[in-house]
Symmetry: C2
């Protein structure tokens, strides 16, 4: 087999918004497999907003990426060589692997996928960490009750689209906040959100006031910053706020300053909790089964934005911060092989 | 019976720190009792920081006081006339009653006290709403585990002194923040806090860093503002923050602006929850029994600051905001009668 590996290194810690020059493509050899290792050819890789946080050299929920090392994230791939008794050539697997065309990893660091259950890409989206993030953040922290009002920011993003749909399944009024009229239409007409607000053109505070006549019971926050300030001013007694992401801040160079939220939580006996999906690792199975069930029943639809070509990975990642993508952003790196 | 009532009305909504001119003393007649009513002579009344919030005409956890109406709060009194089959003359009772020398109220609006169990005043403090506030905020929201570090602000106040002691009972390292060296000594030497920080003279961030070498697992917040910012920068993964009060803000005339806390909660999967003691009304009995047990066992001590004379009620209330009192602030209005 004569193959060359290509990989993407982080070579500068971005100041503010990442730039292409913060990354470097590098060609390398493919290592020899050791015992219990498999060589995984990358089919799809996932680019996610949280990865921006790992590019800083500061404490966060996951350790920072090392400088001049390969970046890692969610990858669906195919085993093309195996020295494992668990995995055979041709098997599809998922794991947290390097942004590279080939990963040589121990069989224990990936999980085998059954491609007959659902399209491969869903394992990185609605049935993967993205779906589980929406599932546990909304249901465990938000705990939405029938008839309540749920607001989700970053509503047209990978997580937001699923949050809104699960909230509808739970019988709530769902209001999404997103950044274009196209997204607004998609949320309302495509996904059944009750209302959607374009934060770029609407007066967010007033639009929310209209969209949430009974106030806000659950807020699923993907963005932070001023958009969230407007939501938090309208929470009800006993409100629950799940902090999933703060995309408005990831590229912020100065301290994030705004109204302190404590007195608002106090007068409403409200709860605010940050989380990362791995907090719920012990319950992943339960979540995945439920999501797959809803998907099969047609209660859950998903949206993917797939960029072709490994060489476009960095652009796909940078695009997350320009607010252009709808749904889950993936990169298709290669076609599966017929084994 | 020839008695005259005296009562205290709110006559202006304070802007910023309340002033004496916001209140008016008024002499009135004592109303005739109706069926099932009792006339309660005020023995002790409680002045509490949360009452400041009720002086504003804005939504809060309890409705605002009406202008030109009598202010109400926690009162321990004695029944001196009764048209109730439940309560007899001489009975001691507690209730949320007017700041007045005599309250004519239905027997259902007060609860009978047994003065042989503990001093009457403890019903407004360690065994009353104050103690229950500390108990439920710390144990339900903070959920401190042995060996963890608990920080409490407003530590020398009525609630803070009890929070710290319960946290010690639970086997945690307890660090208090208060505003004078006298208070610091009291917390450490009198109540067994592991460390205490004087926010007026110490560099709070650095002092906390030293006092909490393993970071902060639980923060019980009575004050808000910059002191809390310093604490929140040092929370651990999985931290729990109970928002009990925000005394730094009650008299603030402008919007409370500071570092937004969301990203700090996010990277630590931390929980922040506001509460008011009435959220736990269904569990008061359990809390009161446990507090009384600890008190009897000598595990809990309490500190009271008792001002004599109804005419000093407003001064006692205003004193809460100058940071001078230690422990529970009460006003003794009258001696109990021998019936």
């Amino acid at each position: 087999m004569l193959m060359k590996n290509e990989r993407i290194l982080l070579v500068n810690r971005p100041k503010g918004t990442p730039e292409k020059s913060d990354f470097r493509f590098e060609a390398t050899a493919i290592p020899e497999l050791e015992n219990d290792q498999v060589l995984v050819k990358t089919i799809y890789l996932s680019v996610d907003p949280y990865m921006r946080g790992r590019m800083n050299d500061t404490k966060s929920y996951v350790p920072p990426f090392e400088l001049n090392e390969v970046i890692s994230g969610g990858v669906v791939g195919q085993v093309i060589q195996s020295r494992s008794s668990e995995l055979a050539e041709g098997d599809f697997v998922i794991g947290n692997l390097g942004w590279q065309k080939y990963n040589a990893v121990s069989d224990a660091s990936v999980r085998k996928l059954d491609p007959s259950i659902a399209p491969l890409t869903t394992n990185l989206g609605v049935l993967g960490m993205t779906g589980l993030t929406a599932y546990f953040g909304l249901l465990d922290i938000g705990n939405p009750q029938e008839g309540e009002t749920v607001v989700v920011s970053g509503a047209a993003g990978a997580v937001g689209t699923i949050v809104g749909q699960i909230a509808k399944i739970k019988g709530t009024r769902v209001v999404g906040i997103a950044g274009s009229d196209e997204k607004i239409s998609y949320l309302k007409d495509g996904l059944g959100f009750d209302e959607a607000i374009n934060y770029k053109t609407d007066d967010v505070y007033k639009a929310l006031k209209n969209a949430c006549p009974d106030g806000v019971d659950v807020y699923f926050d993907n963005v932070g910053g001023e958009i969230s300030d407007h939501v938090l001013r309208q929470i009800n007694k006993g409100a629950r706020i799940a902090i999933c992401g703060q995309i408005a801040l990831y590229n912020l160079e100065k301290m994030d300053v705004g109204p302190r939220i404590q007195s608002q939580l106090l007068i409403n006996s409200a709860l605010m909790k940050g989380f990362i999906v791995s907090d719920y690792a012990a319950h992943f199975e339960e979540g995945a089964v439920q999501l797959a069930k809803w998907l099969k029943e047609g209660k859950l639809s998903y949206s993917e934005n797939i960029v072709e070509g490994f060489e476009n990975t960095v652009d796909a990642f940078l695009g997350l911060f320009s607010g252009e993508n709808t749904g889950k952003q993936l990169v298709k790196v290669a076609e599966p092989e017929n084994v």
